[in-house]
Symmetry: C2
Subunit: 350 residues, 2 copies
């Protein structure tokens, strides 16, 4: 008898968690409990054909829960994950609240599943979606070749900023389409303003017909929080505290699925054919790498899919032991809901 | 008495060449001749307030021409630039036909203006637009610190594929806007097809609500022609035949202005403040680097502008002597028409 709770069940990631549970052939849960803020309590959502009433977040809501998956803002996780633990649950948290806590493992099951079982605080963290999008691929390469250096540029989707981000991008696209803009400095912003969209946006610049080299908040040295997450979380997941990382995180006008251009340097000799074999052998990766046939991953082909798609694999011409490649992963699935759920499955399996 | 010819005067880049000439306070040309394919001959275009009739490409069209700027397909340049030279003109060519020819200089005036004057074939080449977008910035840094390694990821605009590319992106955006797509694998492509857009596209995948990690054609080792241009042209312009370069070129749904995420390693110590000073001191660069105030370059703020915009300058945390930064340049202006015209100005000045 095992009870799984979804905290934040009515959010964008919570909905995908339910989709994933619905799509599983069988689940190990005897009960699934849906928890959300008081304003969503009372809603009824269908899970595996059964209507379940959403209950309000409270200490009692965790009574009898074995595993509680959290997708809520950092401050809510910081407060409530320990409450869930105090009521006897293991918390699997997708916020940034605990990721770099040395007493909380940061887990990608294909890479470091064993660490999910050492959790002094009763909490397991799920990585940031940008880091996660490349982690299955990097984990496979690291095991074979020994990762040393990483230079990454991201092409991040609007849904990384939640439902608000999706809504804003769709509204901006509706405002600019058919207007013949994009030819003059500022004309995109003018048309968006003229369409009556509020100045307040989840993005610091127009995202339709644009790219925005800024995600998160700014930290020391001009690095963004998102770029530092890619560095620090990659190091922790791979167990490489000295891994060299430079990441530049850029938002693009895509609804869902993050893409990354990765330049990865290894301790040992690498070649494209071996990398392709490693990727093809891993169930959570789909290899799409036939550039002659114009076949490579794009976010529009990956959205809604569980696996990470990898392609454009090239041996660096001038850097020893180095591969360049392009990876696409659905930031709401493997980047959030799916990996969190896979951690929960790992916990119940053992 | 100096005559300037524009070959390809009716194309997307040719039109911008005329805009640039119109915007100059004064020009050194006593005559401007407009040359295009026979099907455009007879059209009348205004240049600096004067109507000029477009003449058909022929050997005689170059008689009396001192400098002929070419923006035509590679094969047309390969055939006709030598004809222009045989008629006494200097050809300044924006195609790929001569860029890597050791007897043809590849010139960015801020970086290697002197080389425009050593031209055994009478031809000067203008670099590829992607390379050009970062060259003013890299040239300034190279002079100060000595460039050694370059890892680049691009965010390239649709107009890099010409007017056809612009038209396709605008049509795709009109097809997808307001349709609520982008949530399911393939739904963007379905809506584009349902709107009646032809399967044939200048891009190998939908570009609206997507990013496409492929530009040009595929070459050895899975590298694209565009990616190899960035490597080989950067080496030639900077006079660094052993410069280490890895580039990944990705098309994004932006009409005009290429952006690049650049990770550059130097021989000597670098710091952000000095780099900012170097950029601020160069007339062809605009520094926009106040991330705390959410000020950084985006293509929507740079389109139609002559200078290259640079921001998000960060000292790499783990790589010695290395800067990461983001640069935006209008691919039709500095990336094509403007640099070509600046070469012509350099030639007439001396």
């Amino acid at each position: 008898m095992t009870t799984l709770a979804i905290v934040g069940a009515t959010g964008a990631v919570g909905s995908v968690m339910i989709d994933i549970i619905d799509a599983r052939e069988s689940v190990p849960w005897s009960e699934i409990r849906l928890i959300a803020s008081p304003r969503s309590a009372g809603k009824r959502l269908k899970v595996r054909g059964e209507e379940i009433e959403v209950v309000a977040l409270s200490p009692e809501a965790f009574d009898g829960v074995d595993i509680a998956m959290f997708d809520v803002p950092d401050a809510v996780s910081a407060e409530w994950a320990p409450v869930a633990v105090s009521r006897g649950a293991i918390a699997v948290d997708n916020s940034g609240a605990f990721r770099m806590d040395p007493e909380v493992p940061l887990v990608v099951p294909e890479v470091n599943a064993d660490q999910a079982h050492e959790r002094p605080k009763g909490i397991v963290s799920n990585p940031n979606c940008t880091t996660l999008s490349m982690m299955a691929a990097l984990g496979a390469l690291h095991r074979a070749f020994g990762l040393r250096e990483l230079v990454v540029a991201s092409y991040q989707a609007a849904s990384g900023a939640g439902q608000e981000g999706i809504d804003r991008l769709q509204a901006e696209l509706a405002a600019v389409a058919g207007k013949g803009v994009g030819h003059r400095r500022g004309d995109v912003a003018e048309v968006i303003a003229a369409a009556g969209l509020p100045d307040e946006s989840p993005f610091p610049a127009p995202l339709a017909m644009n790219v925005v080299p800024f995600a998160g908040s700014v930290r020391d040295g001009g690095w963004t929080s998102e770029e530092l997450k890619v560095r620090n979380e990659s190091r922790k997941i791979l167990g490489l505290p000295d891994l060299k990382v430079s990441a530049t995180c850029v938002r693009v006008p895509v609804v869902t699925t993050h893409s990354l251009s990765v330049h990865a340097t290894f301790d040992r000799e690498v070649d494209v054919a071996t990398a392709q074999q490693l990727f093809a052998a891993q169930p959570s990766i789909v290899l799409v790498d036939e550039p002659e046939a114009k076949r490579f991953p794009t976010p529009a082909d990956v959205v809604g899919e569980d696996p990470t798609y990898v392609g454009r694999i090239r041996q660096a011409l001038d850097f020893p032991n180095t591969l360049d490649f392009f990876v696409c992963g659905d930031n709401l699935r493997k980047g959030a809901a799916l990996n969190t759920y896979e951690i929960a499955e790992e916990l119940v399996r053992s």
